[in-house]
Homo-oligomer: 103 residues x 2
DNA sequence: ACCTCATATTGAAAATTTTCTATATTATAT
DNA sequence: ATATAATATAGAAAATTTTCAATATGAGGT
């Protein structure tokens, strides 16, 4: 993959806010339009819109416009990419114990 | 697992900052003490210490104290837990298309 | 006991993020 | 064309996060 540090932060910013995590829980039940999400969240409409932008920017959520509505859903591809990213970042490539600081 | 929204944000906060992502890249080479990390990052010592606290709080990094030094490394268990968390959060449990907003 | 080294904590400034109100945009209906 | 409905954008206030300087803590060494 080879994402920049910056790109990685954009992905995981999706999960750094309690409201956005809650939105994931709502989207687990399938595609939802913004108005439905707004009903269930204690947020103003512009604030929800702001969070949806961050979620879409992360790639973990996709928006589908249809007439007046925008339908949001979890992206399986985005989720896979995020998991791959975290796997790669946490994979230790160390072959053997290099020691430091007087060990 | 069943983590609260808040607990989930604590995990992924680790990956929401470019400096912290860079610290992961350094730790991929194996355990490092704070002074080594400090050498390689453009940060003051207190700022590094602050980031290491956030990383340890996330569970993705563990600190091991040894004499004057603290040695940090990536936690395989923490990584696994984070991956499980993101998998669960992005798993769509929808059985069939429920429609809304005039579809 | 004192000094030094490694790291952590405190407290405040700077930067970023979250939130809201007001307004704009875009689509559909009348 | 006008009105209404759904969502997005702009701009500013509030909250949080990042950062650093100063200081504290704690572990060895002399």
């Amino acid at each position: 993959m080879d994402l920049s540090n910056k790109q990685i932060t954009v992905i995981f910013k999706a999960l750094c806010d309690e409201n956005r995590v809650q939105i994931f829980r709502l989207l687990q039940g399938g595609e939802r339009c913004a108005c439905e999400l707004l009903d269930e969240m204690q947020l103003s409409q512009p604030t929800l819109s702001h969070h949806m932008k961050i979620l879409c920017d992360s790639g973990l959520v996709v928006g589908r416009k249809e007439g007046k509505w925008t339908h949001y859903s979890i992206s399986a591809d985005g989720a896979e990419a995020a998991i791959k990213c975290i796997s790669e970042l946490t994979a230790v490539t160390e072959t053997e114990g290099k020691r430091c600081c007087g060990e």
